[in-house]
Symmetry: C2
Amino acid sequence: MIETRIGIVGLGNMGTAHAKYLIQNEVKGAKLTAVADPREERLQWARDEWGEQIKTFGDSKSLYRSGEVDAVIICTPHYDHPAEAMDAFDQNLHVLIEKPAGVYTRQVREMNERAAGCDKVFGIMYNQRTNPVFMKLKDLIDSGELGEIRRTNWIITDWYRTQHYYNSAGWRATWAGEGGGVLINQDPHQLDLWQWTTGLMPVRVRAFCQFGKHRDIEVENDVTAYVEYANGATGVFVTSTCEAPGTNRFEVTGDRGKVVIEGNRLTFWRLRVSETEFNRNFNGGFGSPECWEIEVPIHSGGAGHEAITKDWIRAIREGTQLIAPGEEGIKGLTLSNAMLLSTWTDNWVELPIDEDLFYNELQKRIEQSASNKQVNEHILLDLSNSRG
Amino acid sequence: MIETRIGIVGLGNMGTAHAKYLIQNEVKGAKLTAVADPREERLQWARDEWGEQIKTFGDSKSLYRSGEVDAVIICTPHYDHPAEAMDAFDQNLHVLIEKPAGVYTRQVREMNERAAGCDKVFGIMYNQRTNPVFMKLKDLIDSGELGEIRRTNWIITDWYRTQHYYNSAGWRATWAGEGGGVLINQDPHQLDLWQWTTGLMPVRVRAFCQFGKHRDIEVENDVTAYVEYANGATGVFVTSTCEAPGTNRFEVTGDRGKVVIEGNRLTFWRLRVSETEFNRNFNGGFGSPECWEIEVPIHSGGAGHEAITKDWIRAIREGTQLIAPGEEGIKGLTLSNAMLLSTWTDNWVELPIDEDLFYNELQKRIEQSASNKQVNEHILLDLSNSRG
């Protein structure tokens, strides 16, 4: 079997994690052959760990043009994802990007157009799409069990981060370095799952971001967003990095009941007849539809990054459909951008957003970006406690 | 013992309920002596039930001036609460009003001023203030156990009402008849408890009301509101009458942890050290404060209306402090008015609200009020399934 040769671009926290399972041959049909990072100490670490079998490059351009790889996993800082992906497509490489797809939708749209213009397989590391509890929710909605959706409500406030975390690298939590805060760094999975499970993107957004709340940072770390969908349904998304213990509770209400996902459990309150039907026929004053509380069985198994990498390799080698097509990264990013833009303009934002306006507003903040935080050290953080 | 003589004004659902426990001498020191209602059939019903011992009046003015009562419980339609209370105060009577205090804060402010100018005891039927689970939450907050509040979030979407309910009387769910929908009719307890337990009123409100959602009514029956407090904390309030089974979940986050009230259970996630202190001292990358999940014991006992009536009688007879002073009714109503006003103006509403603007906007809707729904019959609904 000729294995698909994989290059990893960016040996930070995530790039290193991907390299480790690839080097252990955990992804059938794939072989890590090269890595790129501008930091010589990271390349030296790779050589020390893996020896000569892995080629090391000081820049991604050389890796893409080396002939050593068929496909690349891009784990650079957020801003660079689209440009790196486009360069890789141009070199006829398959691409898997880390989330988020980028920082602003204008650059991500350009990336998507480039991907559409070539025949390479383009994936994004939305590994939570393989989490059985969210797969089950999507199944309940897609199959009509929940009925037409009436409300979504996600409280995701358990992204606790300390000032020490923010101080661990100068680029963290800056407009210039990361392009945002909790929305771009911690929430991409939830912003993806919110619309992926429900199949609904809002038509407009009114959001309220707070910047540097209880933390000495310039970006948003506390957000409440209200959204409206085309069918009249509404939604709320609340997120924060400065609360403990925080909450992770996703509620979706439909015409046939309600689902709550919390603590990796999915509970389905199922109406025997739909609310619409009950309301049409009921004539007893007070009363409500008969409702069954159901603990829905959830398959075991996690939502590891390997699952997405395996799926991407399978698509490359066998032509299967991707669980997480790269083109869909723009959806969650659109929500993220819309929430910031609504706050900056103190107004509604209709979707699709005004991409140029967002870009210009972001540029203003990048220009004023302090990036002058007290930096302890540029450290590789132990991600074992993170859902990243 | 000379008992305090009680008159009940309005023999609708609530007035009848109060009369029933008073006639059974369930409130020590109080005696029902008179009732007033413009509907002769309700007075006839009272005479049939209770005989000559209870005087009946076709209008409240006559009751107030009859010399038959020392105190009155006002259970008229919402709009009339302030005018009735003021007339009763002027006749030197103690007053207990049903919730809501009124429909718009301008009239309620006038009522409060009248109450302040006399020495009568003025209460409001906020019986949920005697619910042990909310008393415990207030205790945890007042005593500092939860620390400074950072977020409030109440999802109260289990006020399910069918079209049949709305059709049961022509005045229901109309601007002219009730002055609003779910906020003025179903939510007054929650709008009171939200600020009573936390001790916090917002400084500004941005709300999104939907009118006649899945129901043929003109008033709001689906609301999402975002609020900001003076200390930087934020809050969300979501309510609806057209979802089944709906949710009733109140979460309050503080510097020392989190409380969730749901299903009449109170769970306290208590941090060993406050978030502020943990954040100041932590230097381990990822990490969060040690947190204990505590099931807080809740006294048994309900939140019956009798408890508030007993408390009011005790205050009249013994000079004790009221659990629910009438003057505090304006707080919940302010939130309710602010949510509508924010929707109508599609903008922020700062507190205190512009009372004249609200009044004028409400008048416009009263003038256009259809009140032409298909009416089945003017029935007394069985309230046993209601939290009213």
